[in-house]
């Protein structure tokens, strides 16, 4: 994990803590919440290399505690070229002006199971085990007055994966740090 990634994660983390700390005293009026998101993940878009563009999906179910806080869990699917990640996500939202004010801050974090797109032999052998930690802070904006709303979000996703390849009977361990800027659109119900 590079120092710049660490600084970015810390910066997003501190911001999040600050934002959540500013929350009004919690008045719980729980309602069912769900959202379905389709996203783009990209590296540097102006670089000659490291300019990958991938797609992610995420489905969340949870509760909106009041008009400013949501907690949910969900599953998703993300492609990273030859690898596919299936994250299990814990989701937190905090809004500033309520759902009609409609912008806030989100943290998705969780674990992911990594598979290879190529079932057979790859460059470093056959992927036998893949686990990952996912941290994905986002700014979010929602639009719509009713229960069903459109949302867009932009953020930064960091994935720390530990992979084990079987290379003709010998192990090849890979510690993989993936960083992506993200842009999601979705439909939310609550």
């Amino acid at each position: 994990m590079g120092i710049k990634n660490i600084l970015l994660v810390i910066a997003f983390g501190l911001t999040t803590i600050q934002l959540f700390a500013q929350a009004d005293s919690l008045k719980v009026s729980a309602k069912y919440y769900s959202s379905y998101q389709l996203g783009l993940m990209f590296n540097c878009i102006a670089c000659e290399s490291n300019n990958r563009l991938n797609i992610s999906t995420l489905m969340l179910h949870g509760v909106s505690l009041n008009d400013k806080h949501v907690i949910a869990i969900g599953i998703g699917r993300e492609a990273y070229g030859g690898l596919v990640s299936r994250p299990l996500i814990f989701h937190l939202e905090r809004y500033y002006k309520g759902f009609t004010g409609q912008y806030g801050f989100v943290i998705d974090t969780g674990t992911a199971f990594i598979k290879t797109q190529q079932e057979e032999w790859g460059w470093f052998g056959q992927l036998e085990r893949g686990r990952a930690f996912v941290f994905h802070p986002q700014f979010i904006f929602t639009s719509g007055e009713r229960n069903a709303k459109i949302q867009i979000a932009a953020g930064y996703k960091f994935v720390r994966a530990d992979l084990m390849y079987n290379n003709w009977g010998m192990p090849t361990w890979v510690d993989m740090d993936l960083s992506r800027f993200t842009f999601n659109v979705g439909l939310r119900i609550n």
Partner: protein, 446 residues
Amino acid sequence: MKVVKFYSNEKAREIAKALGFVLSILLLSILFKSCTADKCTVTNTYMYYSPVETSLTTIRTSVIVEPAREIESAGRIYFKDDYLFINEPGEGIHIIDNRIPESPVKLNFLKIPGNYDLAIRGPFLYTDSYMDLLTFDVSDVRNIRLVNREENVLRADVFMGFTVDQARNMVITYKQEQQVEISENDCSAFLESWGGRFWGGGIIMLDFAANPQSANLNISPGGNSTGVGGSMARFTIVDKYLYMLNGSGIETAVLDNPVKPEIVHKLSVGWGLETVFPYQDKIFIGSTTGMHIISLQNPASPTHLSTYQHFFACDPVVVEGKYAYVTLRTGTNCRMANLNVLEVIDISNVLDPRLVKSYPMHNPHGLGIDDGILFLCDGDAGLKIFDAKDPLRIDKNVLARYPDINAYDVIPLNNVLMMIGKGGLYQYSYSDPNNVRQISHIRFNN
């Protein structure tokens, strides 16, 4: 006409702020491009082979008979006249008195550098020592004598596990070593979908000959004066001919003078030849890519009849009646194929062998068949015994399973099953196939 106003000015400002966030992220992706550089730390463990040189003089003067010693690892085994000959890959041959299978006795050890294969006809044992073909008189197993050495008649190349530098009078073998290498990269190798193979450094070779777990055994009915041996061994004897696999072909030696075999024919078949199984007037060769059927109508000049092809895999083969039984397995040398199966092949038309049925297995290694009873070593899943009289229902006719042993080689003969597993040499009585019972065990050091 009434204009519907969806958003207030205040809301429009909110939208503008949100879009500003998004644009900021896009801008960040440009400004902080190095923050999104993928990074992989790869800890790669690989085996490589470093050269080890030994002089030909040393090798040729090192053949001696030693007292019995512990068996470190087992390669081929061969059974002749109540004696078991167990090859220790690269080291020599252990001789075991098996006249009483309930209590086998280790007699002595025949030290032969570069030894992997053997076959016996009458009182003579034919075996390899790197590129030399040796003949031993084993008529008295307590007084074994080297009676002939044919120099430089066997193939020497990397595929066979060694090379010869004639100018320097050296044999070069390759010692397997392990290396751990840590490197960093931009993850392209893992994120981009394309195949390939990371070879690391050093020489990588498919050393089937030197792999002790690659020995797979079956009955070798080569005539009254020959014994029962392993089919994965590259040597087998039919009548007065010794057939030797050399990696890509078959060399035929005539034993008119049993002390001094004479190579009379070489047949090129294809790469990856592993096992040879004689049956009637044919030999069946298991290779990494298929099963070859070779005619011995003219035994001094074998001819290729047909090939049954399969995916890249290790595949010992045995034959009984009109069926060939082939096991394909995933293993160290056989990772290209992700399959572990027993295949039954109809060879009634030897020019057109056809798959009858395929049965999934765990990790099948050696197999043997005796009068319709199929013995299959299934790696960690142990020994499985099937009634194979109906080739379409082999999986439904399981006679016995012994999952508590790691099995990889068997010789079924006269109701005694000789089996090599990780724990050593086991012998079982299968006079009642439904009640196979262990009668003896010689432990190996591995």
